[in-house]
Amino acid sequence: MPKEVMRRTAADNPYLHKDFHGAMSTGIAYLHERYGEEAVRKYLRQFVEAYHAPLKEAIRRRGLAALQEYLERTYGIEGGDIEIACSEDELVLKVAACPAVTHMREHGYPVADLWVETDGTVNKQLCEGTAFAFELLEYDSETGRSVQRFYRRAS
């Protein structure tokens, strides 16, 4: 074959590489296997404190509206089917199927046993230091279907 050249700029494509979900799952499985369950949670807490510092600050300033905007944007990018009911004191997120789990199942990537912690631990840590708390009301590990509740802590 003759020499071939492909030239692309960032503007040529949207940034959406869903195989990264498989890589994330591999990372969680590795931590679980080598360092134990608590290491997975500790790592996810570290990630939230580092990466989500601006979101946590927005939740402190603007309450659950900031979280709602983040969730709508994030699941929107991923093509997730969600419903959100939000008031000043409570936000309930219903996820019909986790887009990450859907992608991994469709493409044959193993879903880590502790994948649920990408909702559970991540959202609990998002609430740390804010006026809110989190509970995972329902979770189906096969599809990632879930019901998630953020609520104002009793003062």
Binding site: E4, D12, T26, A100, V122
Partner: protein, 150 residues
């Protein structure tokens, strides 16, 4: 859910977490694990198509990652090259002012891909000298082809 668009900072934080557990070797151990367990698609493409498997693999990933790159393959010369003008991963980390990227973030690429390609008879030459500016290059040579032409 951690979105796939948030994976890169999550990856960088994982490297930091691992280094805090067991030093740089713990990070390299993880990179080798990913290479062995997550890159079967690259491995299979190269087994089936030779050097062109690299072209097929990175045509998919670099476009989905919205990278700014030039990729070349010369089957006759047995050379495949990626010139990354702006790496979407390191570029993204550099743009996040509130987090510090893992100090050797870019090191993972060389370890991951070399470990897949060299056992298949391909020579890898990575130039990471400008990786702090999100620029790098990766040259893969088919050792057998080069032997033929010399």
């Amino acid at each position: 859910m951690i979105s796939c668009t948030e994976f890169i900072p999550a990856y960088s934080e994982l490297f930091k977490f691992l280094e805090a557990q067991g030093g740089k070797q713990a990070v390299v151990d993880y990179w080798e694990y990913i290479s062995d367990n997550f890159l079967d698609n690259l491995r299979e493409l190269v087994k089936e198509h030779g050097l062109r498997g690299c072209w097929l693999y990175w045509s998919h990933t670099l476009n989905e990652e919205a990278a700014d790159f030039t990729m070349e393959i010369d089957d006759e010369a047995g050379e495949f090259r990626i010139v990354m003008h702006h790496c979407p991963s390191k570029g993204r980390l550099n743009e996040l002012e509130h987090i510090e990227p893992y100090r050797d973030y870019c090191g993972h690429c060389d370890v991951l891909y070399r470990r897949v390609l060299e056992p298949l008879g391909l020579e890898c030459i990575a130039d990471l000298s400008e990786c702090e500016q999100a620029k790098c290059s990766f040259l893969v040579r088919d050792a057998a082809k080069r032997g033929d032409s010399n």
